[in-house]
Amino acid sequence: MNEIALTSADRFDIRDWLRLEMFPHFLCPGCGHGLALRAFLWAVHELGIDRDALAVISGIGCAGRLSAYVDANTFHVTHGRPLAFATGLKLARPDLTVVVITGDGDGLAIGGNHLIHACRRNLDLTCLLLNNEVYGMTGGQVSPTTAAERYTTTTPAGNCEPGFDACKLAEGAGATFVGREATLQVPTLKNLIREAIAHKGFSFVEVISDCTEIFGRKNALGNSPEMVLRQKAGMRPDNWGNKVDRPFRPNPFPTGVFVRKTRPEYLELYEAMTAAARREERD
């Protein structure tokens, strides 16, 4: 058997990236957000990013709470607004790697407008949207991604709105990198996040997460491993679009990278277009 020599610097130990003084953490047992955090930190580790030059900005929600656990420059801002805060921070400090962690409520309901314009603007930010189909933090109300007919505390008779596809939204709004993975396969998710952070321009990653305690219970989706298996049943790896077994897979969603393109990055464009003014002497 081949042995691969790993130096300790290469090896990923999540504890190296966490603020252990914040433990025990607040997540419910089995919550998918923990796996998403693991994949994110693993990606950052593999990219060799200097934690002093890493900024993590999150909104409000269970997803939003994650920034506090990361040993980096972290900002827990207002509900729905992390992309707008990140826009200011990145414009002021292009030397920082700026990553936004948001939820389906935070990023698609109250913060939907900021997402649209961040995609369009193409500033070099990475947005990780942790989609658990519900407002976890506030106790399980319906969210913009809750599937039709699902039960939540504010849809006691079932959801009469369709859930919407965040990746299609991001693509339509002009994001230059768009992808989706589930927490089922952390290494695959890590690879996707890694590519998203390395991408120059605005990158959007939807993470299919699970709110086991609230959404899972309410909809009798079983325990945490059972919910993760449900992710597996719904996945279309590498965007196959295979429709043959659709009847057996009730909630299919494609995974993989959907958009990977280059377009001038916002700040580079701003600097180029204002170059003449920048050279002008002020009277």
Binding site: R19, M22, R51, D52, A53, A55, I57, S67, A68, D71, A72, N73, T74, F75, H76, V77, T78, R81, A84, F85, A86, T87, G88, L89, K90, L91, A92, R93, D95, L96, N113, H114, I116, H117, Y270, T274, A277, R278, E280, R282, D283
Partner: protein
């Protein structure tokens, strides 16, 4: 540096004052009667290596300004009533997380969309109490184009030095009024600056403050790796609901501006030494009041003007000494009675307080103030 004499409108003076103060980031959303500030900043900021961005709304503008300031840039946004309402939640975040920034509110008639092109002074209380929760407010109210320039510079100094949002409040008339002013950038050593965290990370506690109650701020990249949150936090910056620590944070936040009143307060007094009738006014109404004081004096009425240039925290001591000889106070303001509430609260026993208000989109004229004053002293 030689002073440049220029004909400028108030909004242009605001933009140039900001740049003179070292502002290098502007995020905004267009709204009458403030849009010229954004237009000037869009043209001027690149020349000094700064960044201008028009965001998707006022909420995003306020957020971007705070984000840029967290990154270490002096940052500003400008708006008017409807946009000022939208900024309030994030303005509260800047109070709580102690992020320096300047917010300009060029007041127009309200409520709601109101009268976009007509002046008003009806945001006096929104500027004080607009965001939720117990919080201090620092609001400056200039009354001329020259003062818009100098107060914008002062706003940045106070924001940076005290780690607080500062609101610059003036009305549409002043925003569009053109006057000749000297734009003389202050020398860098005259500017008040932010305290940055120094020393090893081990010893740094992001919200630990010394006697001046202002904690040193961590600059991302300097190795402190701090956490910033709008949740109630202790000195480590991490959330807490421990009653003792919660109270300690709020005591310090509320006490911070009180502690620095000497630095913050600024008043203007015209003939108040022997005034029996004291007029209290801000902004364009104070311009009319100044003219009225002159006219009343010529008619033998001992009138004076007290003008809180720092509107909030209200300069209580300055007012008390100005009102010492007065029997009557008149508060002309372009709203249904907001500043007058504070004057009623502070007026000594035996002094009667009257208000002269209009909210029809017209500025108050000196003659109206003279007529109202003559009624009172008859």
């Amino acid at each position: 540096m030689t002073a440049h004499l220029r004909n400028l409108q108030g909004n242009a003076a605001c933009a140039l004052g900001a740049i003179a103060a070292g502002c290098r980031f502007y995020a905004g959303y267009p709204i009458t009667p403030s849009s010229e500030i954004a237009e000037w900043m869009a043209a001027e900021l690149p020349r000094v290596g700064g960044i201008f961005v028009q965001m998707e709304d006022e909420i995003a503008s306020m957020a971007a300004v705070i984000g840029a300031s967290l990154g270490g840039m002096k940052a500003m946004t400008a708006t008017s009533g409807p946009g000022f309402s939208l900024k309030q939640e994030n303005l509260g975040y800047a109070v709580m997380a102690e992020v320096p920034c300047v917010i300009v509110d060029v007041m127009r008639g309200g409520p709601s969309t109101g009268m976009p092109t007509r002046p008003s002074q009806a945001d006096v209380m929104q500027a004080r109490w607009g965001t939720h929760g117990d919080h201090p407010s620092l609001v400056l109210a200039p009354h001329s184009v020259a003062e818009i320039y100098s107060e914008t510079i002062r706003a940045f100094g106070l924001a940076e030095r005290l780690r607080t949002p500062v609101v610059l409040l003036y009305d549409e008339t002043l925003g569009h009024l053109i006057e000749t002013i000297a734009t003389e950038p202050p020398p860098p050593e005259a500017l008040l600056e932010r305290k940055w965290a120094e020393g090893p990370r081990r010893e740094y506690r992001p919200y630990a403050a010394g006697e001046d109650l202002v904690p040193a701020m961590a600059r991302p990249g300097d190795g402190h790796r701090a956490h910033t949150t709008g949740l109630t936090h202790d000195e480590t910056g991490f959330p807490t609901q421990d009653p003792e620590r919660v109270a300690r944070l709020l005591d310090r936040l509320l006490g911070k501006l009180e502690h620095h009143r000497a630095l913050i307060e600024k008043v203007d007094r015209v003939e108040t030494e022997d005034a029996e009738l004291l007029i209290v006014a801000i902004g364009i109404a104070a311009r009319a009041a100044k003219a009225a004081v002159g006219a009343l004096r010529r008619q033998g009425v001992k009138a004076g003007l007290f003008r809180p240039v720092t509107l909030w925290p209200f300069p209580e001591e300055g007012f008390r000494s100005a009102v010492a000889t007065a029997k009557t106070v008149l508060v002309p303001e372009m709203n249904a009675g907001q500043l007058v509430l504070e004057i009623e609260r502070l007026a000594p026993a035996g002094v009667t307080v009257h208000r002269l208000g209009r909210y029809d989109g017209e500025p108050i004229a000196p003659e109206e103030i003279v007529a109202a004053a003559r009624e009172l002293v008859r």
